[in-house]
Symmetry: C2
Subunit: 373 residues, 2 copies
């Protein structure tokens, strides 16, 4: 294919593809919905947001909004479902009552079951282990004694709420069994798990899209650095060898097929001494560690998500540049914004949030460099 070739003719979209002008319904109105709306518009689709706040960041660029008054607001969910051609998600941190209401509608991509699984560490880790994707040793916790017993067996560990955790929230680390009652009292009002804190070399993620036909397009493995439990930077290429990258891609591919997943997802992993990879979390949606694709690929993770859920062919995930994405977080991120706009080879994105609270993701900036090698 050269630049001089004529435009191709003829449909390659399957009979299930949503027509241009169709409406994508998304549960959640944050920055992921915002960037999804922009990708949807480029392909001729419109975005309808279901969220509690009609002033959510996505609404600057979304088409319609349905207000969800409470997680059991059946009227809102049903009106939303009736108004859209496909239902998708920008978060897996959803109340089970809302998931149950959404599950009554058949046109969710990914499935509500996949979102529910990714939103509950117990279901998620049991699934990963069942399909042969290794994780750090873990266990459900029902009593403070469960914590103590786990630490006696595994050493240092981290206790996490099973649901509604993100950006390091709902997590406590402990090395000493004597701390078990304190940790259990702090977190144990809801279902919790405990997992071994193993010394990993680095954190990586694979962001991939899977179509309804089972086709998969995976972006290059990304190396992630967290600070204070929040993603700070994502770098591509990751500093890992080819065999390790292959293991990471294989794990993410297994997850996608295992969930019969449709849409874009991410798998976060730890890279261990020796090159083993241990799965940490599934994100059933566009993921912060894939933001670099907006500027280093012709089709971003958001476009791939839209393509997958609308039944369009997936685009090439090849990148045309090396990249480092840095999150702009809280007041410090806000202060960096103006300077960033004058930095060469850097693309800056702002999410339109009105308050620059500490720990809040306000935007990101991706610095690009020519591909090495």
């Amino acid at each position: 294919m050269t630049l001089a070739d004529p435009l191709p003719r003829g449909a390659t979209i399957g009979p299930q593809a949503l027509q241009r002008g169709a409406v994508i319904g998304i549960v959640g109105g944050g920055q992921l919905g915002r960037m999804t709306s922009i990708a949807a518009a480029r392909l001729g689709y419109r975005l309808h947001v279901l969220s509690a706040d009609p002033d959510d960041p996505a609404m600057d660029v979304a088409w319609r909004h349905t207000r969800l008054a409470a997680p059991d607001d059946m009227a809102a969910v049903d009106a939303f479902a009736a108004a859209v051609d496909v239902i998708t998600f920008e978060t897996e941190n959803l109340d089970e009552r809302l998931l149950a209401l959404l599950e009554r509608h058949a046109h969710a991509r990914p499935s509500v079951a996949a979102v529910r699984l990714a939103g509950d560490r117990r279901l998620e880790k049991a699934f990963l282990n069942r399909i042969g994707v290794p994780t750090a040793p873990w266990a459900e916790v029902r009593t403070a004694e469960d914590i103590a017993a786990f630490i006696h067996a595994q050493g240092a560990a981290i206790v996490k709420t099973a649901r509604a955790g993100y950006d390091g929230k709902g997590q406590m680390r402990l090395r000493n069994a004597a701390d078990s009652p304190r940790v259990f009292d702090a977190l144990g009002g809801v279902p919790i798990i405990i997992e071994a804190m193993l010394p990993f070399l680095s954190e990586v993620s694979v962001v991939l899209a899977r179509g309804a036909d089972g086709a998969i397009a995976a972006f290059d493995v990304t190396e992630n650095v967290h600070r204070g439990g929040i993603l700070d930077t994502s770098t591509v290429p990751a500093a890992i060898d080819a065999a390790t990258a292959s293991r990471a891609l294989d794990a993410a591919t297994r997850v996608a097929h295992g969930l019969d997943y449709v849409g874009l997802m991410a798998l976060e992993m730890f890279v261990m001494e020796g090159g083993a990879v241990l799965a940490n979390e599934i994100a059933p949606r566009p993921h912060n560690s894939g933001h670099w694709t907006m500027d280093a690929c012709l089709a971003s993770q958001f476009e791939q998500h839209v393509r997958a859920i609308c039944g369009l062919p997936l685009a090439s995930p090849a990148r045309h540049a090396d990249a480092v994405m840095t999150n702009l977080i809280g007041p410090q991120g806000a202060a960096a914004w103006e300077g960033l706009l004058a930095v060469p080879d850097t693309v800056s994105h702002w999410y339109g949030k009105t308050e620059a609270r500490a720990g809040r993701k306000l935007g990101h900036a991706t610095r690009l460099a020519p591909l090495k090698g």
Copy 2:
């Protein structure tokens, strides 16, 4: 600057810069407004559209709309002007009554005067000649005899309505003075001009942004091919030598400085045998021949426009790929869409128009290739 450098700190935005969250008001709700809204959102701004139809293409991704009931709808213009932090334009084909209403508000970028000038071929060509930018020979036409006299002197010519012409509308060619009465009867109900039809080698355009501080960032010269009066393809790099490119850039730069222009503009030109360039039209807005910048540059023409009118530093206009942009026009363009989505190295954009009328721009596709040399 390497990828490993820390984020820069400190403001480089002048005191006149619009804060994040500010509202850009745009006159017109078509695809240029749509793509401007997307660029505005990435930088944290919101778009408010003034147009006749709240279902215009831009409204899929715009924040607010004010309905303009008629060109002299003062209440709408004033409400719009009061609700936005800066007024800008996606078209220069505006009724003088609307321009006069807008001119009462001081915060237009570019100025209403620049938009008026670009929207009237008489003002435009007189201005170009005054600042030393050559055009084809031209004259105002008041009678059929003016046409005949011009043809006797210059040969083949094209008669154009002075205002409200785009995509080849309001134009008639003639070679024979005997046709003058027919052409005058067809077009002469409104102000018209006549211009010599010279044998040019190619058509090119320069798309550039100019900040309020006079800084200019010009994208590479683009070569344009029209079909049936409508832009068909834009190719970069243009097949012209460095001296010709330099003349084209110089002409566009003169125009921008001459108008004390703020924002993004395009200058369309003819390349003549021997390398002279003759200016054809000024577009006081993002331009179809700059759409390739969306995919071949880190900051598109739309982002540059937003940066310029909001007082942010202009981004680098460097491109990272060669590109051919092809417009998707009418039913044939609509039929090409689905096939395009599977073409590698191609980025496709759809404008969300509901009807695929003949001659209507429905979208575009940009095919990229590695930079040569």
